[in-house]
Every structure is written in structure tokens, then in C-alpha cells.
Amino acid sequence: MTCAELEILLCDYVDGTLRGEEKTALDSHLAGCSACAELAKDVAGVTAFIETVASAEPPAELLTRILHELPTGRPAAEKRSWWRNWFGWVHGLLQPRYVMGMAMTVLSFSMIARFAHIEPRQLRPSDLDPVKIWASIDDRTHRMWDRTVKYYDNLRLVIEIQSRLKEWTDQEQAQNSSPARKPGDSASEGSKQKAESGTQKTDGSGQKPEAGTSEKKR
């Protein structure tokens, strides 16, 4: 006998209704399994303890109270009126929790409609066409996306960062191009010098771009 099988038979064992082979098998299992033996001891102990417990007696006035509260007549055989049978469910819907739930649902939908610029009063049956609804949602999404992009681009901070980045990129390009120049390449030297001096003029000095580059790297 396994511990699980013992657990099923334990109630009958404690009741004293277990007989024959099952009882013998259970007894031999208990002799060899300390965990089951402890369980059986606990269960039997509690059952014996509960038998010594006094029953909970109701106070005498409770009976009077119940009999006083019970309506007289024959309620169980009473026939329900037809309107109660048909519209009884309406009463259930008027419970506060359902009413609150419905109110919250209506409020949520009205808020969503407001944010989506849907005017329920101007709704027509043709507006409920799935294709039209889809086109409307698509259109609104694109507009919203464009508006967001435009707003982002117009932010002063974004413009400043973009212009600074552009400046740094130009300076890096200018620096990279100057060491690559060959000293003996006289054909293009004059024109390149001109371009370089032009860049330096915009930078103010020859040292500043380097400082700017190192700052950026940091």
C-alpha cells in the first residue's frame, strides 16, 4: 500500500469501518512509515478531541426571532405574477455594481470618442461602413504622425543639436581632407589652400576645430 492509497482509506480507518485485507495492509504500512503513522495519530487524536467538545446551542430567543420574521401563509406555493417572470431580470441589472459598471463603460467610450474627434450626434448609418471606418482611422493616424514629426522638428533643442552636429561633421571632413593632401601635388594645391583658409575663417582659428572635435569625442 502506498501513502496516497493510505490517505484515501484513512477516514474509514479512523471511523472503524475498515475491515479485512485493507485494514491489515494499512496497519502494516503504518508500522513501516513514520510520516503516515504520525498523520494517522493526528487525525485520530483530533477526532477523539472533537467528540469531547460541547455542541454549540443556539440562544432560546433565536427561535422566536426566526418565527417572528417568517412571513405567514404559503409563500413557496405562491405564484409569481407574469410581469415578474418576464421582467425579473431588469431588477438584477439595477444593482448598484452593474449600474456603476455601465456608467464607467459609457464614460470611457465617450472619452475615447472625444479624443478621436468622433461626434456621435453627426453619425450617419453610412459612417459605420467598415471601409469608411478603416479609411478614417488610417487618415487620422497619418495626420497624427505628421503632426508629431513636425512638432518634433520644430523644437528649438532639436534644431540646435542638428545644427551643431552638422557643424562638427563639416569640421571633421575638412580636417580629414587636409592631411591626405600630398605636398608635391602642386596642381590642386592652390585651390585647396583657398578652400582651407575659407573653412578656417568660418571657424575663427586653426585650433578651435580640434578642440571642438575632442570635446565631442569626450
Binding site: 427561535l63 426566526i66 404559503r74
Partner: protein, 213 residues
């Protein structure tokens, strides 16, 4: 006297009469229900008198409050009064039907008062523990009667509702396993498993309170 048509039994088991209840008791229940449905006020009084103790006891053991148990007992009988027509004596015992109704009300009540219990329980447990310790010092761990009842009451409150109701229905109300299975709407094996777990847990709680079992 009004006669009630008894439909063919829906359950396959043949009921041997439960402990403490005889064929006469069961007949008396069936006759009382018939008389109640026939509109006899005196029958209602007899029905209430006959079953108040059982309903009150289940409610008291479960809630651990006399006031709540009284209110719930009253609610149970009001519900019996309204729904007795739905009981068919051929489909089972009146006691099982009544216990199921009581249990459903108790579970509703348990869910409703969950928040209140969270704040009250600590104070109550400390109080019961102090009282138990004092009693045990006097009785050398051997308890009986009213004192045992109070200690058991405190121990039952430590069990989960599932285990508590099973122990109450079996060990205090002495229902049969199949009846408990019908009341709780679970298989008989589950009833026995819960009973073992409930009793073992209760033994641990009582031992922690130095009660000799």
C-alpha cells in the same frame, strides 16, 4: 394533506440512514416539508424548531461569532421559506439540501466580510490564546466540554474555509461522506482528502496551543 409527487431518484446511491438519523427522522422531514408546502403555519414552526440547532451550529463554528451565526441562521430560514418549493424529497435528503443552502450563504458571507476579518482576527487570536493558556494551566492540557469547544473554535479559525467546512460537516455535524460531497459539490475522494488535511492541520494548531490530543 397535500401529496407531493416524488420523481425517480436522480442519484444512483441507495441511502443507508446516516449516523444519528433514523428512517423516522427522514420521514418526519419529508412530511414536514409536505405540510409546509401545503401552507400549514404550524409545520413551519416544527421545521424551524427541528433544524435551528444544526444551522446555528454550522454558522457559529464557521464564523466564530454568535451574533453573525444568529443573523445567518435567520437568513437561512428566510431562504428556506422562499425556496422550499425547489426542494424535491425524492432527489435527496432535506438535511443535505438545508446544509447546502447554509453553506452557500456562509461562503457568500465569508467573501463579503473578508476585509473586516483581516483587521479583527489578530486581536481575537491573541485573546483566545491567552484564555486557552490560562485554562490549560489549570487542567494540565486535558480539556472537555465548553472549554474544549472554545479551543476547537479558535483552532478552526486557523484552517482555510475549505478544510474548515469539511471538518465541521463531518466531525461536528456528523454528515456522511457522500452527503458532504453533495453539499460541497465535490467528489467523495476530495472530501476525504480535505478531511485528513483539515484534521492534521487542526492537530498541529492544538498542539501548538499545548492541548493534549
Amino acid at each position: 394533506m397535500a401529496t407531493v409527487a416524488i420523481p425517480a431518484a436522480k442519484w444512483n446511491w441507495v441511502p443507508p440512514y446516516p449516523r444519528g438519523r433514523t428512517a423516522n427522522n427522514l420521514d418526519a422531514d419529508a412530511q414536514l416539508v409536505d405540510r409546509c408546502l401545503g401552507g400549514q403555519d404550524a409545520a413551519w414552526e416544527d421545521l424551524v424548531k427541528l433544524h435551528t440547532r444544526r444551522v446555528y451550529s454550522i454558522c457559529y463554528r464557521f464564523t466564530n461569532s454568535d451574533a453573525e451565526a444568529q443573523d445567518l441562521t435567520q437568513d437561512v430560514f428566510l431562504r428556506v421559506f422562499k425556496n422550499l418549493k425547489s426542494f424535491r424529497s425524492g432527489e435527496g435528503l432535506f438535511v443535505v439540501w438545508l446544509t447546502r443552502l447554509t453553506r452557500n450563504l456562509l461562503i457568500d458571507h465569508y467573501r463579503r466580510t473578508r476585509m473586516d476579518r483581516a483587521t479583527d482576527s489578530i486581536e481575537d487570536q491573541v485573546k483566545v490564546l491567552e484564555e486557552t493558556t490560562a485554562v490549560l494551566a489549570r487542567t494540565d492540557g486535558m480539556l472537555a466540554g465548553r472549554e474544549a469547544s472554545e479551543v476547537l473554535q479558535a483552532g478552526l479559525q486557523k484552517l482555510s474555509p475549505e478544510l474548515r467546512e469539511t471538518v465541521i460537516l463531518r466531525d461536528l455535524e456528523e454528515l456522511e461522506y457522500r452527503e458532504i460531497a453533495q453539499v460541497l459539490n465535490v467528489p467523495e475522494g476530495t472530501v476525504k482528502s480535505r478531511l485528513n488535511r483539515g484534521r492534521a492541520e487542526l492537530a498541529r494548531v492544538l498542539r501548538r496551543h499545548k492541548v493534549r490530543i
